[in-house]
């Protein structure tokens, strides 16, 4: 049961993260004037770090012994 709750919260977090990222990227595409180049470097850096941290998060999520943690300690 606890793994389902954790998975739900994790998915909610991922959804919110993707929505916010999409909003920021939209703003950058929409309102950047020609000649403003900083976003070309910052956005890939942000994506790279995000993907790396998400990969780690997924890995740790699946290696967490949720049932063991949910069991009452003796």
């Amino acid at each position: 049961m606890i793994i389902l709750i954790a998975a739900f919260i994790f998915l909610l977090f991922i959804g919110a993260y993707i929505l916010l990222t999409a909003a920021v990227i939209h703003h950058l595409r929409q309102y950047t004037l020609p000649g403003w180049t900083a976003a070309r470097f910052v956005v890939p850096f942000f994506f790279f770090l995000s993907l790396a941290l998400f990969a780690y998060a997924v890995y740790f999520f699946f290696t967490t012994p949720w049932n063991l943690l949910a069991a009452p300690s003796i």
């Binding site: 994790f10 977090f13 993260y17 916010l20 990222t21 909003a23 920021v24 703003h27 950058l28 929409q30 309102y31 950047t32 004037l33 403003w36 900083a38 976003a39 910052v42 942000f46 770090l49 995000s50 941290l53 998400f54 780690y56 998060a57 740790f60 999520f61 290696t63 967490t64 012994p65 063991l68 943690l69």
Partner: protein, 176 residues
Amino acid sequence: MISLTEGEHVLMTIRRHWFALARHAVFLVLLFLIPLIFVSTTNMLGAGYVEGAWTPLVNFVLCLYLLALLMYGFVLWTDYYLDVWIITNERLIDIQQRGLFDRTISELGMNNVQDVTIEVRGIIATFLKFGNLTVQTASQSTFTINDAPNLYEAKELILRYSQGLNGARHDRAVSH
């Protein structure tokens, strides 16, 4: 998106001084340090989160925390990046970005500029050469950019072009 009229060109783009961003970045760094302090403290106290079943869970939460901080930093930078003053040969465009979903764009024709005021306050602002630039219009309203670098250059530019436009208008009126 800002579109320029025919014959109009951008003279200068002003963003807030990097120090304004650095102030927020310090807060971000402090938030980043919290988990490090937590880990070192629990290790010192012998709680030993790094052992046993709790390890992956703590690392998982840590990853989510770092992702949230990364997003906060990204939004902060976007706010800084899109919050600009654009000085063209015909007008001043003030784009104020407050967070993600609050954006205000104001324009002021160079021929409406009455007065330009520079305000540098404090030791840091004096050393790093940034401050507030206020433009007063003919209708007594004001345009202000806070923590702007290159203040004197911007002031000279605004005054030169506004006086140029006002002078040309005056010359046309006299010749008629």
